[in-house]
Symmetry: C2
Subunit: 114 residues, 2 copies
DNA sequence: GTTATCTGTTACATAAAGGATAGTACTTAC
DNA sequence: GTAAGTACTATCCTTTATGTAACAGATAAC
């Protein structure tokens, strides 16, 4: 029983760590939630999320590598790039919803406690 | 409409950031998931989670400040301290479940893709 | 008194993350 | 050719996170 507990803990730990590796950090979930309102350009994302270009570039690459967003180049006058969520990203909906809901209720709790 | 989108994004961003501030980082959710199998002592947690005493001490303090775990001192022969989840911590169940589920399915996806 | 256990803390050091500022490359408008 | 817009990249620096090792206070066993 003790062994079983430890074992299932290990699995839970690993799964949680996996998720946080992909989607943790300061910006990834924020970028995803911003992109939920539609595809966006680089500078647009930078402005809306309040993230510096260097970090944004890195984060977008990582998100793309994990199949959560796609990068499309448009051959417009000044070349344009749009980032958007992939269908796979929708699998994160429960995670996002849970995080958002808890964050909201936790803030309410703190406010009500003074 | 554009305004509305940006506004709701801001709220989502804030809520998500709040949650990650409380429960983000490398260890907090792991410690919580470890404590789910019952109250544990300091060294016990250190061993089971594979976390060094310095970090463990800091993380436990932060979790306690946020009302997610409680610390109880027992007047045993060598003084003993037990940490355990608070009832409030149960409000994180959805978050934990979502993270664990996604981490698991994502791993499966990566494995199946080679 | 020496060793051991339990709970941590302190000091020191490295690693990872994040940020500020400029600059590159291309194109269009003036 | 000068400015401005798009999409980044490069450099440098600060902050945060994490880790290691040693140590301190208390109690008990030997």
């Amino acid at each position: 029983m003790q062994e079983h507990s430890i074992d299932s803990c290990q699995k839970a730990k690993r799964a949680i760590q996996d998720t946080l590796d992909v989607v943790g950090g300061k910006w990834k979930l924020v970028l995803i939630s911003v992109l939920r309102s539609g595809k966006k350009g680089f500078n647009e994302l930078s402005r809306e999320a309040g993230i510096s270009p260097r970090i944004l570039s890195k984060e977008l690459q990582e998100l793309e590598m994990n199949g959560l967003i796609s990068r499309t180049v448009y051959q417009t006058k000044p070349i344009t790039v749009k980032y958007e969520l992939t269908p796979y990203c929708a699998t994160l909906n429960d995670v996002l919803a849970a995080l958002e809901k808890w964050g909201h209720q936790h803030r309410q709790k703190i406010i009500s406690e003074g």
